[in-house]
């Protein structure tokens, strides 16, 4: 999150609604360690990343949903998921993300 600080403050100052997605847990092999952070704003701009590009597209879709509803939730991506064919990690691990609005 540290590396996104300047941009996040700029977005906030410009009045954007923002969703933060953070890797909070990794089982097995995962591309990014816990703490890796991605942010999406209400015009679809993106900062940072939570994987090696494997799941970012799906995270943007989820983030847009959260911008609408304001809820917070955990989502997981892994090889064994039903979504594995569409969205998943090729490295075989599972990552757990926490998504929330930046309203704090």
């Amino acid at each position: 999150m540290r590396e996104l600080l300047d941009d996040l403050e700029r977005w906030k100052a410009a009045g954007h609604e923002i969703v933060i997605a953070r890797v909070v847990d990794v089982e097995g092999s995962g591309p990014r360690a816990p703490g890796a952070t991605m942010a999406v704003n209400d015009v679809g701009e993106v900062l940072g990343s939570v994987s090696g590009g494997c799941v970012e597209g799906a995270v943007i879709t989820e983030a847009m949903e959260i911008l609408r509803t304001g809820e917070r939730r955990m989502i997981s991506f892994g090889y064994s998921d039903d979504e594995a064919i569409e969205v998943g990690l090729t490295c075989g691990g599972t990552i757990h993300l926490f998504l929330e609005p930046l309203d704090w």
């Binding site: 999150m1 953070r22 909070v24 816990p34 703490g35 955990m74 926490f98 929330e100 309203d103 704090w104």
Partner: protein, 271 residues
């Protein structure tokens, strides 16, 4: 509270102060947070914010301080009042610690390469050499600090000055002087710190020589176990850049406890 916790976090990060943020990610109040700092916070003694129960807050603050010391992010499970071995809620503790420090003693060719690789690894780099003509910022533009002093005096200063955090498990000392006049007192001073990695450059015979002098100077077997010398992993590294990679790789292996072949543990040629 909207907007306040984030700006408090931003303030702490900008000031370079170590801070941890605990977020409930699963449970009755997802998204609730506590900001825990090493320095003064608006709501002492705990942190800034709450997870909704004072017992839970106390336990989470304690665990967050542990994470701060280790510089490690963690996911933890608790009961609703902070009980261990319960799963009522899941908390993600994220640590924003200042970068780990790498102290490089000796302003030699290898120093510039190690300063570059160490920088890429995220270390804050200090180059220290007592010789004024060698230790210049022009020669080491990639270092965060260049200090002209005897290495052991720099270490004593860091440990004695209450405004500077003492060296810890995340920090590293790399002694590249390979001149016993400088490196024996430097290694002895390094032993008296809690630094996580101590490495010293030199051939196997240099190291034998140095070891004898270190024992003379009062080093114990336990101390000597902490010393990685000859420095680096057994990669057959030759150029300053290759040696820098082998040193950084050894630091990683030391932290993770993985079984990577260290030059110290072998007997063959260094390259």
């Amino acid at each position: 509270m909207a907007g306040q916790l984030f700006s408090q976090l931003a303030t702490e990060l900008r000031a370079g102060r170590p801070v941890a943020m605990a977020t409930e990610v699963d449970g009755p109040r997802p998204g609730s947070k506590i900001l825990i700092g090493a320095s003064a916070m608006p709501t002492q003694p705990g942190g800034y914010g709450s997870l909704g129960n004072s017992d839970l807050d106390r336990v989470v603050v304690r665990d967050s301080i542990g994470c701060l010391e280790l510089g490690r992010n963690e996911i933890r499970h608790y009961g609703s009042r902070g009980e261990a071995n319960q799963q009522a809620l899941t908390v993600f503790i994220e640590v924003f610690a200042p970068p780990p420090r790498m102290l490089i003693f000796g302003a030699v060719d290898f120093t510039a390469a190690l300063a570059r690789v160490g920088s890429i690894m995220g270390y804050s780099i200090t180059v220290c050499d007592a010789r004024e003509s060698f230790a210049t910022t022009e020669r080491f533009p990639m270092a965060d600090r260049v200090v002209i002093d005897w290495p052991h005096r720099l270490l004593e200063h860091i440990e004695a000055d209450s405004r500077i955090q003492s060296l810890g498990v995340r920090d590293a000392i790399c002694i590249l002087t390979h001149d016993p006049k400088f490196d024996v007192p430097a290694v002895i001073a390094a032993f008296s710190t809690d630094v996580g990695y101590i490495g010293a450059m030199g051939s196997r015979s240099t190291q034998e020589n140095r070891q004898a002098k270190l024992i003379e100077a009062g080093a114990t077997q336990e101390d000597l176990q902490r010393l990685h010398a000859p420095i680096g992993l057994d990669l057959g590294a030759r150029t300053p850049e290759e040696v820098a990679v082998s040193i950084c790789a050894e630091i990683i292996a030391t932290h993770t406890g993985r079984n990577a072949p260290k030059l110290r543990d072998g007997s063959g040629p260094l390259h």
